[in-house]
Symmetry: C2
Subunit: 635 residues, 2 copies
């Protein structure tokens, strides 16, 4: 029972069946957060993105704003961020507003760990019992028996040391972390407890946080779990969140990231307890490896990002100081050491270092191009001799942003699509539901199909063809992907892609291709020299490589040279947890990788501009597309 | 104004003029603590020591117990620990119950620091301003300019780094601590701030905590301050406090020690602010060096002492893990590193390691004997080649314990005394007040004078001489040191020393002499081989060496071989703060010093027993005493 005063209002959410009490004047978005309902708010609750649409019933005051269309307003839909609670209220969350169960990428084709040599080990210590002729202190007795007097024991463990030693009758199991020097005794258990040692790998993504519990004795993945990064409620992309933190302080974002990580850990512990038939607790997780982009890493540690956001894009630190699970507020063993992947630049983070590590490209004699497409595109080119990298503001088009019909790769998203001869559509929807929008891989399909069916020209402008699906909309020409009646619940109007949407997608693909071209040019390498293209990140596994090449997003080289590594950030984090060699390689990648700042690179502007065509200004760069070109024609 | 409910009682203390509100049923001792009045309670408030005598007026219930004499009871005196508040009350604190301003020992004849090389240094860092062609992170830019990329920066400083750098227009002053490896950046200031760098030396004594603020650039002591260890309220000696912590947990004692240290620090900051004419804050104190006995060090860090108290006397750790000012709850710069002196054994602590360091005995080719007399006696024998040490339970006789007329060396204590031809007394009182008791140096004087005047025999038994001052008391024979009318306020009865008191003093001096003899015997050295005797600790500077030799407490060797170093624990802590060499020597002393456990040493029992005479069973060991012997005679 929640106490309710005169100024308190009850807000009941459907279909969730959750009721919360909030103060009169609170926004419905705040009530959603209070209720633990993950709701989409790209703009951070500023009434600009129009995503947080809900249908309230009761006492409220709503500001319609600019982004809510007439149809919505008539249907009683309001923006949760712009509607304040004035009394008891029932609120229906429209399906598209909700951040729902989504597709997680964990499969990966990364390299195997050569030898299992984690920086954590368990050692049995059988000490001689103290007596009055040998009454050395407990700690020094332990270190003497271990033969290493320079080991550090955190004071929290030292406090329990006399008890642990005597409970184990002078036999203890020490978990030793050699992540830092001098090595530390992370955990101490009474008796012989060498049968189990668990570590945690985490990818702190802007959108999703994924964790894996790893058996450090066998190298096996025990459990995998993921959750939307709870920071999403403060803005969908990193820019919005940095702006939020500059105004409100970084603490809130730090807490939200850590809360998400801890929720993922809870889920991992539950799953692994079931698997082992034995309760696995936070104390059993004795080490962690965390990767993420530079901004996520800064938020996770609690550092100021304001100088990353603005030129000259300076992070606070590439390498983070040594930290323990306790320091980072992680629900693992408090003394466990946490490896944080180093970020190379403000927009080239530890996640890309992890991608490279997982791909193994830095060990190959042949030239490899690695492309990680997310909200930002990050490109690495190189081999065992050298590595160059850059980041391009690809924009969030492939993650559901800046495209009216866009959404993330979750249930209800069209992830692949074909245009039929009658210029109608056939598509696949994630979760086999009625569609609510189109995710990244679907958008690439769509634009490739629209181009090959001559619905758009080489500049991705919709042609005025005399069919019902092509029409003049409020914001210029639009193509109807699906009619309203066939869409999922809560959809308002038809599912359309507009000229403006297409230009956003065009810019995204041009940024990626342009950036890759710049790196090749700087290193004086040709496309033909590339022996492998590694695709990492968000929607890698769903992607149709042929389509991505056909719109000129990826280079036109033989398809069998393409390899997906899925979530390379998570894979790299896991590798560094399992092997000291991999951890050393991580540092080497960071040190060897040259970073090129594209924002001040004149080559990049040229290459980007040349790529603002389908597939490219210079059609000779895409020889394999000559057949499909015949239909689209040259305008 | 304090709110007062039905169950609250006001207790007004005189002559303090402090009034506090406590719950009905609280003891007067608890009310004293609430009022911040330091009151003597050797037994930890168990009604056994009879020290916490107060005179209440109002509603209270008192349990007389066994330790309160008839006279006291008639005078309305009660034990604060055994009297409960039942209503509003006025309470007079008897002077002897009060822990008052006392004599602090800080003068010392320890060696000078060879070269000023503190493990803290300040460096000016003038960085090139970041631009888009050189947008390395702030931390890495700083380290690059410093030329040491392995330096660690605590995350708390990292959080403020972007602001500090830009406020100083890319010029900062870094304070670097090389106490641990890798070195750490303790403090970062905007601009050039190389003019001042302060460190703190602390002696955490069982009775008193003394601190010194040291200018690390000049080596000068800026301020000195001390305060009774607030743990005294939980028991006067280490045994009582260990028992308290076993029952109640160590946390309370940790807090009390840290509170005392912080109060000392506040006083140091006030004094030094006045001296510099500029506000000195906790942030200005960038490093600390702390020494104390093993139990005090354990309490300060927060470790279990139960295995020190009982055989085989095992500490949790000799070397404490690296700690910061923040970790230790010290009001200094939170990132400052704190050097904690290592303890050699349960009853031979870091304070003795500091004594040795301050004495320089470990660098001498000649044989030195070091004696630290406090509640326990610690003895070290050695030279640059070797060091042996032991501890003896000397008992608290010289610190005011276990002797009815004993008190600590504070105002009102007789610190030197002569017995006149009429067997009356002449004495000096600290603070030039009327006496309330006798401190350690006064007791040594008294027993020497009583012996030379044949008031006591060689076994320290009071002779039945026909004078008024010698009489049969409740606990056997007693000698009146001063009549009641000449004593300070609050004294009840005459100031007497009893047979029982004398036996306690005899045991104390026998333990010290016996322990020193055992070390000499084990190393096959003679008294004549000793080139120097170093006296360290509590009452060193007040001591009359001749008298101490005459009762057989110190060896009978030429007086010019004696040297006082005063508070060697504080001196050693300061030396280790000022010089890396001294800090290295500290570790060497710890490693080279052999510890001998006297409690299981048969030699010790023999030597102790032989020393239970004045001056000794074997009078030949004290050749210089033959003249004074003539009067005392041999019984």
């Amino acid at each position: 029972m929640t106490a309710k005063s005169g100024d308190s209002c009850e807000v009941a959410f459907s279909p969730d069946g959750v009721t919360v009490t909030v103060s009169k004047g609170a926004t419905i978005l705040e009530a959603c957060r209070e209720a633990g309902i993950a709701i989409d708010a790209v703009c951070g609750g500023e009434g600009k993105c129009g995503r947080c649409r809900v249908r309230p019933d009761g006492e409220f005051i709503a500001n319609r704003g600019d982004v809510l269309c007439e149809e919505d307003a008539e249907a009683g839909v309001v923006l949760a961020c712009k509607a304040t609670v004035q009394g008891d209220l029932k609120v229906e969350i429209l399906p598209k507003s909700r951040i729902r169960e989504h597709q997680i990428l964990t499969r990966s084709a990364e390299r195997a760990v050569p030898t299992l040599t984690p920086w954590l080990c368990k050692t049995l210590v059988e000490m001689p019992e103290a007596n009055v002729y040998d009454n050395t202190a407990d700690l020094e007795r332990l270190l003497r028996t271990l033969g290493d007097r320079h080991l550090i024991m955190p004071v929290e463990t030292l406090r329990r040391l006399p008890h642990i030693i005597r409970e184990g009758d002078w036999t203890v199991t020490a978990t030793i972390s050699s992540l830092e020097h001098p090595p530390e005794i992370t955990r101490l258990e009474s008796g012989d407890r060498r049968t189990r040692m668990l570590g945690l790998a985490v990818d702190v993504g802007t959108t999703t946080i994924v964790g894996q519990l790893v058996d450090l004795l066998s190298g096996e993945v025990v459990a995998t779990s993921s959750e939307y990064n709870r920071q999403v409620s403060k803005g969908e992309d990193v820019i919005a969140r940095m702006m939020y933190s500059e105004e409100m302080g970084v603490e809130e974002l730090t807490t939200l990231a850590r809360d998400t990580v801890n929720s993922v850990i809870s889920s991992l512990l539950r799953t692994s307890s079931e698997r082992f038939g034995d309760e696995i607790t936070t104390m059993d997780v004795v080490g962690a490896s965390v990767s993420g982009n530079t901004i996520m890493t800064h938020f996770f540690v609690g550092l100021d990002t304001s100088h990353i956001r603005l030129e000259p894009y300076v992070p606070v630190a590439h390498h983070m100081p040594p930290r323990s699970g306790h320091d980072l507020g992680m629900n693992i063993h408090p003394s466990s050491r946490v490896l944080l992947f180093p970020s190379r630049a403000g927009y080239l983070g530890g996640d890309v270092v992890a991608d490279v590590l997982a791909s193994g490209m830095h060990t190959s004699e042949n030239l490899t191009l690695l492309i990680d497409v997310g909200t930002n595109g990050e490109i690495v080119l190189g081999c065992s001799e050298w590595l160059v990298s850059c980041a391009c503001s690809a924009g969030p088009a492939f993650e559901g942003g800046e495209v009216s019909c866009g959404m993330r790769a979750m249930h209800g998203a069209i992830d692949s699509i074909r245009i039929n001869d009658d210029l109608g559509t056939s598509y696949h929807v994630l979760g086999d539901e009625k569609p609510n929008g189109i995710c990244g891989s679907g958008l690439i399909d769509l634009i490739a199909e629209m181009y090959s069916n001559a619905i758009i020209d080489r500049k991705a402008r919709i042609q005025e063809l005399a069919i019902e699906r092509i029409r003049q909309g409020e914001e210029g020409m639009e193509y109807v992907v699906e009619w309203n009646k066939r869409l999922g619940d809560g959809s308002v109007g038809d599912l359309v892609i507009t000229d403006a949407d297409l230009q956003n997608v065009l810019r995204t693909k041009a940024a990626i291709y342009g950036a890759a071209t710049v790196l090749l040019k700087k290193m004086e390498e040709d496309l033909d020299d590339i022996s492998e293209v590694v695709i990492a990140g968000g929607f890698g596994n769903h992607l149709d490589i042929d389509r991505a090449i056909s719109i000129g997003m990826f280079p036109d080289i033989p398809r069998d040279r393409y390899r997906f590594i899925g979530n390379g950030s998570l894979g790299g984090a896991r590798l560094a947890l399992l092997s000291k060699d991999m951890r050393r390689e991580m540092v080497e990648i960071f040190e060897e990788m040259t970073y090129i700042e594209l924002s001040v690179d004149s080559d990049f502007y040229d290459e980007f501009s040349s790529s603002l065509f389908l597939p490219h200004t210079d059609i000779a760069k895409f020889p394999s597309l000559s057949v499909t070109e015949s239909r689209g024609g040259d305008h």
